[in-house]
């Protein structure tokens, strides 16, 4: 049988790949997708634990994470569309108004 650690290690790697995507890409859509990737890796962790510990709570949590991710994706994409309308770009290097 596969030890739990393997699943956790896979999840960690997927998470890190997501982090790279968030920090290094300029396109806002790609950044969003990397965030989804990170959320999924967390889902994997939760499901793995739930299976190995015999507790359904993990999977219920995943259910809610899924829901929230969906809501967040919807709203976030709406923001990007609004941003695109104003600035004609989704290059986040050019969006630097969140400062003092």
């Amino acid at each position: 049988m596969i030890p739990l650690n393997y699943y956790l290690a896979l999840s960690a790697i997927l998470f890190s790949i997501g982090v790279v995507g968030v920090l290094a890409r300029r396109n806002a859509i790609i950044v969003f997708m990397s965030i989804e990737l990170m959320l999924n890796s967390v889902n994997l962790t939760l499901v793995a634990f739930s299976a190995y510990l015999g507790n359904a709570t993990g999977q219920i949590f995943v259910f809610f994470v899924l829901t929230v991710a969906a809501a967040e994706a919807a709203v976030g994409l709406a923001i990007i569309i609004a941003l695109f309308r104003n600035k004609m770009t989704v290059n986040i290097d050019e969006i630097n108004i969140m400062k003092w």
Partner: protein
């Protein structure tokens, strides 16, 4: 090397490769496609963990709804082709990759040295808790309140999305 391990390794490799491809492609549409592929691989992994409900939900909601939404937006905004991650590796990208590597190493070390032994096998009740029946039972009894609140959250999200993306008149 049992069959389980081989299957797991194949699936793991596929998901990692597809994840890397997501973040390194030049065209956003290709990235979306690879992300869908990654989600499906993950759903298969969930199946190996006997989490049937979650696997199906993953495919329907994530791969089916969310990624379609992404695709719509990508096509709506009609991007020009953008640079790949591997082109012109600036210091920003180097730092990002470096940090991510360090973080993953740390997490793996943390996992392996953490207190308590982690179970080496699937729990005996794993097959039962992943069923739709069981999940439904737990969801509507123990976690009813979060369930209802989530529906309000979704309502807020819908309204928010509509308001934000609306074209202003005048």
């Amino acid at each position: 090397m049992s069959i389980d391990t081989i299957v797991f390794l194949i699936l793991a490799a596929a998901s990692i490769i597809s994840a890397i491809l997501v973040i390194t492609r030049r065209s956003p549409i290709i990235s979306v496609v690879y992300l869908v592929f990654n989600f499906i691989i993950l759903a298969i992994i969930y199946l190996t963990l006997h989490a049937q409900f979650i696997a199906v939900i993953q495919v329907i909601v994530y791969a089916g709804a969310i990624m379609v939404l992404f695709l719509f937006v990508v096509m709506l905004l009609n991007f020009a082709k953008e640079e790949m991650l591997t082109e012109k590796v600036t210091y920003k990208k180097r730092i990002a990759i470096g940090l991510a590597v360090v973080m993953s190493v740390q997490i793996i070390i943390g996992i392996s040295t953490s207190f308590g032994e982690h179970p080496n096998q699937l729990s005996p009740v794993a097959t039962q808790i992943g069923t739709v029946e069981h999940i439904g039972k737990v969801l509507f009894t123990q976690y009813l309140l979060p369930f209802e609140i989530t529906s309000i959250l979704l309502l807020a999200a819908i309204i928010g999305a509509v308001v934000l993306a609306k074209k202003r008149i005048g």
